[in-house]
């Protein structure tokens, strides 16, 4: 090929490339390791919530009963020890890695993959327009996710989730839930917004935001889990509290001087106006 023609072709390619890159600018590049940034959400994100703290969760009576029946001894059972955080919760905990899967010929985005530090779970967010499977297909902890770009916001819709939790203290999220997420990148800051719709256990959608900072140096650490028999139990034994017998759930309210009723959650406890209600409620005796 002689050089003038080659030059023209190169120029044309460059122009086309610029056009395509500009067109693609609506889609942000989310690939990389993102480190959790913590503020007042630290206790909930890392050490985990206190027992009996369901304030701010729009849970219904049925889920409250689940939570009050829950015993932390459950997770000592071998088959529960490595139960992973579901995808609508796992992001909350520590760092994440996102990478792209692209068609090697067309460069079209097929999927985004996301790895959580917590339990080293990996999920796939299909970006190729495929449909969700039928309801009778298998459900998983990560669920089946499809995504699309709404301008510069990645919006993800997830179904086929197994039962999980809203908080690590017994507040369950059912397998009938569907989840909408938004990933919003502002430079080096990434905001994850998750909206959980659960017709079984929620009075209103539950919305949570988490922030991350782009990491130049970090890698997501290894997280392995091995189930072991920690204590010998009767076969089939499931630890739980019979209704009305769980005294442990009062510790949170008594320690922090929060009315029992407020600590028990419900949609009303999500809203700022609830501060007025709290003042009218009896405060439990200090511990």
């Amino acid at each position: 090929m002689n050089s003038p023609i080659r030059g023209v072709l190169l120029l044309a390619t460059a122009v086309l490339g610029c056009l395509l890159t500009s067109a693609a600018l609506a889609e942000k590049n989310l690939a990389g390791v993102w480190t959790g940034t913590y503020s007042e959400d630290w206790p909930d994100r890392f050490p985990g919530p206190e027992l009996g703290d369901y304030g701010g969760l729009p849970i219904n009576d049925a889920d409250r009963m689940r939570a009050l029946s829950w015993s932390a001894s459950l997770i000592a059972l071998p088959e529960y020890q490595c139960r992973v955080h579901p995808s609508d919760y796992a992001n909350s905990f520590a760092d994440i890695r996102i990478w792209e899967e692209r068609d090697p010929v067309t460069e079209k985005l097929i999927a985004l993959h996301l790895q959580h530090f917590a339990w080293q779970t990996r999920r796939t967010i299909w970006m190729d327009g495929r449909e969700h499977p039928p309801e009778y297909a298998q459900h998983t902890s990560m669920g089946f996710s499809t995504g699309q770009w709404d301008g510069q916001v990645l919006t993800i819709h997830t179904t086929h989730l197994k039962e999980g939790w809203l908080r690590r203290n017994g507040a369950a999220r059912s397998d009938k839930a569907s989840v909408t997420e938004h990933f919003i990148r502002h430079g080096d800051i990434l905001t994850w917004t998750v909206v959980v719709n659960d017709p079984v256990y929620l009075e209103e959608p539950f919305i949570r935001n988490r922030d991350y900072k782009y990491s130049v140096d970090n890698q997501v650490a290894n997280y392995s889990c091995e189930s072991v028999v920690e204590m010998v139990r009767a076969p089939g034994y499931i630890p739980h509290h019979l209704p009305g017998t769980n005294e442990d759930v009062k510790i949170f309210a008594e320690t922090h001087g929060i009315p029992y009723k407020a600590a028990m959650g419900g949609a009303a406890t999500m809203y700022p106006e609830y501060m007025k209600v709290i003042r009218s409620l009896p405060v439990p005796p200090p511990r």
Binding site: C82, Q138, H139, S141, V200
Partner: protein, 331 residues
């Protein structure tokens, strides 16, 4: 499944005499099958789950032919057969009935007739019409229920009855390159339940001892019990090896509902065990059935598993569990 809930299925299972359904389609007017579509979900390389109306069907295919677990309704046999033929052209050699309910064995006669038994050698003389149809395997109690319908109900067509039964804890066979273990789960959904474990494919066809969409139907009249259902769930969990945590690995095809893995069966077992413990505690406190119902021992699980209408309501589930647990043997 799309057009009929478990409650509807069980309603049919009880209200319509088994034999009637099996012998002919003339009593199927309660349900319109015309819109039912049979869909196949690939479970593992050579295992499929067929979903239509009635219990899920498991299909195992390979060079030896076709083995199926449960047969749904007779009215759907043509469509079921059509779907099987999309998966394999091989002969149907074996049918395994997980139990005797009509929504699981209604297609026995039709699908048997479409198949061909593996026969000869020392078993050649056991079956007079060997070669005329597929072998139907079931626990002995399932055959007893099918061959002795309740008073006033017509007898079942002999072509629909199991041709090979077992009364021991398990029965094994080798088919399509893998060992298949059929295990009896005593006094669970009924007293004739089998689960079918495909050892190479690592798939369990659970029948109605494990369902993912409603409180399990405890067929007390036919020997069922909540304790047996919990024991069956524990046995299934013992068989399962997950990939990690509670995900993947051994897959479980439920009697009704979605393809499952250990996490789903664990949640089911947890729900049943907690409800059992609560009802047992209330019985110990001397409560009557009415008092137990009023205490709502299932309230936290009802929005997911319960039903206030239809054949199998939450109240009936609690009543059955109460009867089991207050019986002298605790069954």
């Amino acid at each position: 499944m799309q057009s009929l809930s478990v409650s509807g299925i069980c309603k049919r299972g009880l209200l319509v005499a088994l034999g009637v359904l099996l012998a002919s389609g003339s009593h199927a007017q309660q349900q319109d099958f015309s819109k039912v579509k049979i869909e196949a979900l690939k479970v593992r390389d050579n295992i499929y789950m067929l979903v239509g109306s009635g219990g899920n069907i498991t299909v195992q295919i390979g060079s030896d032919g076709v083995l199926i677990v449960d047969t749904q309704y007779a009215e759907l046999s043509d469509r079921i057969l059509g779907k099987i033929r999309e998966l394999s052209k091989g002969p149907i050699r074996y049918i395994i009935d997980t139990h005797h309910h009509a929504d699981h064995v209604g297609g026995n006669a039709n699908l048997r007739a479409a198949g061909m038994t593996v026969s000869g050698g020392n078993v050649g003389g056991d079956i007079s019409d060997a070669g005329a149809g597929a072998q139907i395997i079931a626990h002995e109690n399932a055959l007893l229920h099918m061959s002795s319908p309740p008073a006033g109900q017509p007898a079942i067509a002999s072509a629909a009855l199991p041709t090979l039964t077992y009364f021991t804890p398990k029965k094994d066979l080798w088919f399509n390159g893998e060992g298949i273990r059929i295990m009896h789960e005593p006094n669970a959904h009924t007293d004739g339940d089998s689960i079918v474990y495909f050892r190479q494919s690592d798939v369990i066809a659970a029948g109605d001892v494990y369902v993912s969409n409603q409180y399990p139907f405890i067929d007390i009249a036919n020997g069922g019990s909540i304790q047996g259902i919990i024991a069956a769930a524990n046995n299934i969990i013992d068989l399962i090896i997950p990939v990690y945590g509670q995900d993947g690995g051994t897959l479980v095809i439920p009697g009704h509902g979605r393809l499952s893995d250990i996490g789903d069966v664990i949640n089911y077992r947890e729900m049943l065990t907690i409800i059992r413990d609560r009802i047992q505690d209330l019985i110990r406190k001397g409560m009557t059935l009415e008092q137990v119902q009023a205490a709502k021992p299932t309230a936290d699980y009802d929005p997911r598993w319960g039903s206030s209408s239809g054949f199998w309501t939450t109240r009936q589930f609690v009543e059955a569990a109460y009867k089991n647990l207050s019986a002298p043997q605790g069954k």
